[in-house]
Symmetry: C2
Subunit: 359 residues, 2 copies
């Protein structure tokens, strides 16, 4: 009486061989039973055994040498050839030296290789890379979701990834419909803290510019409006600007310019990130005004070295390196069975420099 008659015989053989390898019955480099041995043991044809061996070879668990036999290619501690994929939205700019180098440090130390790719926040490229990852025998993925505030159009692909046993760690943002390990930054609180700071300085007409195709931007905007509500201040909807990946290089400047030319112009700007803040500062300067004397500006991410820039920008610290290190640690812990689904949210921190004044 067979337990599960619907399991293919080929699958039975594969399971048996995996058991031999993973339970240390056959050590790395040692010889496996020959095809003929397994033919007799399982009472299957040699073709069936060959098929099983073939698939295990593709998986990299075993290798064959004609005339000699089939051998274990499975090392328990040796993750030397294992790949962790890292899929981010942007690599240039501030993320590269930060999060990525944090991830790299840990993975390199632990002997993993790192497969880098970036989506430029385009959903199709995310899909393309997810498929590639599935083809290339990757053991884990660290993902910064693409256009995370929109619907997760790639959820089917993520399901396949999960089914294949590939571990995932989300960073910066995560999809609502996919439960996974993550390392986030509390962007809502960051937006709140920055806005609170400006309100406490006496500003009331505070403009907010947010990139809202990422969840980060949506959360920062949420914190912005929450702060107004808490402090009982009136938030002027016309002072809030939203943009996305497509117009990220011109919108902040244009929006700031139009506000500055209006008769009741804002006295402060809270910007989605430092890059955005730089464009706003440019617009302020181009109007013949100065920071912080005329207008106060708060950025986000602390991605611009205060040494190099003219204006010492007050901003929210983004623990890039630490988050990268932690995401990679989470990944390694999961891969090596020390953790199930670790999750952590970092708390943001206001860095006061010299781009704001009280009024």
């Amino acid at each position: 009486m067979k337990k599960t008659p619907d399991i293919p015989k080929c699958e039975m053989v594969k399971r048996y061989v995996r058991h031999l390898l993973k339970d240390d019955i056959i050590a790395y480099g040692e010889k496996l039973p020959s095809e003929h041995d397994l033919t007799e043991k399982f009472q299957v044809s040699r073709q069936t055994v060959r098929q099983a061996f073939g698939e295990l070879t593709v998986e990299g668990l075993i290798y064959k040498e004609q005339g000699k036999g089939t051998f274990s290619n499975y090392k328990k501690g040796a993750k030397g050839s294992q790949i962790v994929a890292v899929v981010t939205t942007y690599l240039s700019g501030f993320v590269f030296p930060g999060i990525i180098s944090g991830i790299e440090q840990v993975l390199s130390d632990e002997g993993y290789m790192m497969l880098l790719s970036n989506t430029n926040n385009i959903k199709e490229r995310e899909a393309q890379y997810l498929k590639s990852v599935l083809e290339h025998n990757v053991v884990g993925m660290i993902i910064e979701p693409t256009a995370s505030s929109g619907p997760n159009v790639n959820s089917r692909l993520f399901s396949v990834i999960r089914e294949k046993g590939i571990k995932t760690v989300f960073i910066n943002a995560c999809y609502d419909d996919f439960d996974s390990a993550y390392v986030l930054l509390n962007d809502k609180k960051g937006g709140y803290t920055a806005t609170e700071y400006l309100l406490q300085l006496g500003h009331t007409r505070i403009a907010g510019i947010f990139k809202t195709d990422d969840k980060q931007g949506v959360n920062r905007m949420q914190g912005f409006t929450d702060a107004f509500r808490t402090y009982g201040a009136d938030g002027d909807q016309r002072l809030i600007g939203e943009y996305d990946t497509a117009n990220m290089y011109d919108y902040p400047y244009m929006f700031a310019q139009s506000l500055l030319r209006s008769k009741n112009r804002p006295t402060a700007f809270f910007c989605y990130n430092d890059q955005c803040a730089l464009m706003v500062i440019q617009a302020i300067h181009d109007q013949g005004l100065s920071v912080p004397e005329d207008i106060s500006v708060v950025g986000y991410d602390d991605s611009i070295s205060p040494l190099n820039s003219e204006v010492k920008l007050t901003t929210i610290r983004h623990p890039k390196q630490e988050m990268g290190v932690q995401a990679a640690r989470f990944m390694v812990d999961m891969l090596e069975g020390r953790a199930e689904k670790p999750q952590y949210t970092h708390e943001p921190e206001l860095i006061v420099r010299k781009s704001c004044r009280n009024i």
Copy 2:
């Protein structure tokens, strides 16, 4: 009469299918002839066709759907799933934001993914990664050789890589016994230029500290001694220090300290790289001396921002970003058939700052 009767039939089928795909007879996503069709066309058994299809599936060229058929998975322009491996010695330090980001820019633009790993200058890790790369269906490798001044113990692995048709571009250094595309820096000339500069400033007792397990260091030392010979100056052998990866964090300091304490101390130091120069400057300061008043120092690589450091270090510029970009362009050109074996050597450039004076 058959042309080549020693080619397996299975191989014949594979070649035919490849031809169908690569010569655009069957476009991406279109259906291939069924197993039965090819059985008749080639007068082989279905098993043989199945074997060919199986191997092509592993290569990622085709995919099958039960009941529907077999389809092309080959896109001419779409290299989205193709991987270029990058094997460097160190990733932390100066290389990471430089060469790697240069490589990354190009590969990312061209739609390739990048597999990062670093050897920490350990030959065994190089071997380990080369093997992994062979297993993971990589189309190209950009390699900074490990311990390049020593014998190329991994030459057999490199041969296998070549046989598999994997393209290689060497960066910073290359092995003598392996002809390949490369992007180098003329380190001999760099060493010469730096030393010449010190000699022209009137220095005669110039110390040189070199990391000689890499070819870069050997070449820089060569340029150093060449300059002495050209200028007819006496090079004191006792002023030359050689170290390697194992003692890279203490040797420069110790060696400089011992020279500074000697009665006939040098008036200038030429250092293997800026990191080394920083340790030498530390040793000089610790002896109560200052740079450049008492001792002149020249570094190499221009890897330390002059904004952040106390001493504005005169150094040789290493076009990190440019070299990374070029290596990646070479790789893409080779992969897409626009170049055979491109090679280029960058010329170094002296950057005069404030760590040297004439005497």
